[in-house]
């Protein structure tokens, strides 16, 4: 493994711990000619909030989509609560207790908050095929109250709600089946300061409850240190940094990323002649 380095950074092997909720080892993923994940290993402890950092195209979203069952890895293995974990699809992952809030939130604008909250999990009034709308609205209200989110009217189409409220509904949807692992794909993107604070509060409350471990993709380093226990940095499809946020700093992270940029630039300038023949043997 020593020869497999990215931009000079050694691949960080995760330390093993018995209370890992999720373990991933040597996962790779290609899309045609593009290698999205070269070799990913990470672990997630119970009740932990793990921040996933990295530039656009580094493979963060691909990794999240593999964990949540939307993509399948080309190779590598995953364990969930000590059991081998290979979700067939999103529903299968959810049945195992892995839930996701996508960057686009996957909300349907035309459906109400409660319909969105229960999408694909509707209860029916047996023996009729009718959906138990009243019950769903009551449960939706309770679920939103529980995470401290106030939505004035849960029967209105969510198109009329604010970005933060929509995010909260997506989070509430993800955690309503007592999931073990919650994946948040850029929950703070395109949020105003106030809405961002609301989401950070929400994550803090989830952490307090302690029953769900969270992996969240974040772009803003300051927010990583506000919200996360540990940070992993993905560079070019490989994890190059894994430290508890208490032992690191924004400066250190900045340093690593800037370093990578410098290295890449240097490689581009010095390797000008080699560009036409990359493998000059």
């Amino acid at each position: 493994m020593a020869d497999q380095t990215v931009a000079g950074q050694p691949i960080v092997e995760p330390s093993t711990a018995p209370d890992d909720v999720l373990r991933i080892e040597h996962v790779t993923k290609r899309f045609g000619p593009i290698t999205a994940l070269r070799d990913i290993s990470l672990h997630l402890r119970k009740g932990e909030v793990l921040g996933l950092l990295g530039d656009n195209g580094a493979g963060k979203s691909t990794l999240v989509k593999i964990i949540c069952g939307f993509h399948r890895p080309d190779s590598g293995r995953m364990w969930l609560k000590g059991e081998p974990y290979a979700p067939k699809d999103v529903l299968d992952a959810r049945a195992h207790g892995v839930d996701t809030v996508y960057q686009d939130l996957a909300l349907v604008d035309q459906l109400s908050a409660s319909q969105n909250l229960f999408l694909r999990r509707e209860e029916t009034l047996r023996p009729t095929p009718l959906v138990a709308g009243r019950k769903m609205r009551r449960q939706a209200r309770a679920a939103l109250d529980e995470i401290g989110i106030n939505i004035p009217r849960i029967d209105l189409p969510v198109a009329r709600l604010s970005g933060g409220q929509r995010q909260a509904i997506a989070v509430a949807r993800a955690i309503r089946d007592q999931s073990d692992v919650l994946l948040l794909d850029e929950p703070l993107a395109a949020m105003g300061a106030k809405e961002g604070a609301m989401i950070l509060d929400l994550i803090a409350r989830l952490k307090e409850r302690g029953d769900v471990a969270i992996i969240m993709i974040v772009h803003n380093y300051v927010q990583v240190f506000q919200a996360c226990d540990r940070a992993n940095l993905i560079q070019d499809g490989v994890i190059t940094f894994d430290k508890p946020t208490a032992e690191s700093s924004v400066d250190e992270l900045n340093e690593i990323v800037v370093e990578e940029y410098r290295r890449a630039r240097q490689a581009a300038t010095t390797g000008n002649g080699g560009a036409s023949q990359p493998s000059s043997a």
Binding site: F70, D89, V90, L91, R94, T100, Y102, D104, L105, A106, L107, V108, D109, Q110, L111, Q115, L119, R120, E122, T124, P129, L130, V131, G133, P152, R153, R160, S162, R173
Partner: protein
């Protein structure tokens, strides 16, 4: 979001009993609720057209004219009801006219093979649904735009209908008035109110399905945000298949009912494709978005009713046949302009 809150919180003080609101406020509330309905614009249009024809045609509001009106819109409402499920997905089914045309011929072929009437109808509708499944397959799994996939189906079925019928008009099976046959005929379109009952039952059932079942919610979800629905675990392709099958079956049923009602089946693709356009017009005038995510079956019924009122009214006013389409075009545009205006009020902003 410039949407004004529906009710200011201070309007419901605790010391006041809930029934003590004055009449004006109640009327305003009802008015708002009415406008909040997706079908509001078509209701306005229908009332306006009824007033117009009621004033200008003597004896307009009579039972016999109501009976005249039925054949104009009932079968159309049935076709439109299925189309709503496809258009709510943001797709379109152009083959409904062709399905309307071919299904009675399939029914006829089956009866000539010695199969009894009722099983023949059922098998014919199953075949129609299967043809819809082909539409759905090409759209959902092959990835051909539904406009093109169903256009191909339109040509194919029109051709097949001409081949099956040898381009000759036939007498609809089960329409000679004796014994069991007459019972069959009066149930499947021959009776005065038969098509109306079919239309109301189908529209009612499908509206309930669209509004209150998982299928309906997934249909709206797929039409509103296909990727989002898929990420939430909705099997969007299966929904697409199912809705195209439903749409085809309703078009086939409309064809059979009309065949029985008129006692004859004519292999006339241009006539049946006219109904394709009518049914799509009914769906859109009724308040279903062409872009998907919003649909109303009741609205489509009202849209069909409006088109029926227009044709019947123009007929009663002895408008020459050459002018009917011209007026139809103008009326449809007026209805759509009204639709856009009412929708803007509904959405509470100037952007629609």
């Amino acid at each position: 979001m410039a949407v004004a809150p529906e009710k200011a919180p201070e309007q419901a003080p605790a010391e006041r009993p809930s029934g003590a609101r004055n009449v004006g406020a109640v009327a305003w509330d009802w008015g708002k609720k009415g406008l909040a309905l997706r079908e509001s614009s078509i209701i306005v249009v229908i009332v306006a057209s009824l007033i117009y024809f009621g004033v200008s045609v003597p004896g307009y509001f009579t039972g016999s004219n109501f009976k005249n009106l039925l054949p104009y819109f009932c079968f159309l409402a049935i076709m439109a009801a299925g189309q709503v499920f496809v258009m709510t997905l943001g797709e379109i089914d152009l083959s409904v006219g062709a399905l309307y045309l071919i299904t009675p011929f399939i029914f006829w072929k089956l009866t000539t093979a010695g199969i009894p009437l009722l099983p023949s109808v059922i098998i014919a509708l199953v075949i129609a649904a299967a043809l819809g499944g082909v539409n759905g397959f090409f759209t959902a799994y092959v990835g051909i735009p539904s406009f093109v996939a169903t256009l191909a189906m339109l040509f194919f079925l029109d051709g097949l209908a001409l081949i099956l019928s040898h381009s000759e008009q036939i007498t609809t099976p089960g329409t000679s008035l004796t014994g069991a046959q007459s019972t069959f005929a009066s149930v499947f379109g021959g009776g005065t109110y038969s098509e109306l009952i079919w239309a109301l039952v189908i529209v009612g059932a499908l509206q309930v399905a669209l509004s209150f079942t998982r299928w309906g919610i997934y249909t709206v979800a797929t039409g509103g945000n296909k990727l989002g629905a898929a990420e939430a675990g909705v099997k969007t392709r299966r929904i697409l298949m199912r809705n195209f099958m439903l749409c085809a079956a309703t078009a086939g049923l409309a064809g059979v009912l009309e065949g029985v009602r008129t006692s004859s089946i004519t292999p006339d693709p241009s006539g049946s494709n006219q109904f394709l356009l009518y049914s799509i017009a009914a769906v859109i005038i009724g308040g279903t978005l062409m872009t998907g995510g919003e649909g109303t079956v009741v609205g489509a019924l009202l849209g069909a009713l409006f088109l029926g009122i227009l044709q019947d009214g123009l007929n009663l006013k002895s408008v020459p046949a050459t002018y009917v389409y011209l007026w139809l075009g103008i009326a449809v545009i007026i209805a759509m302009v009204l639709y856009v205006l009412v929708r803007r009020i509904r959405m509470g902003s100037g952007h629609g």
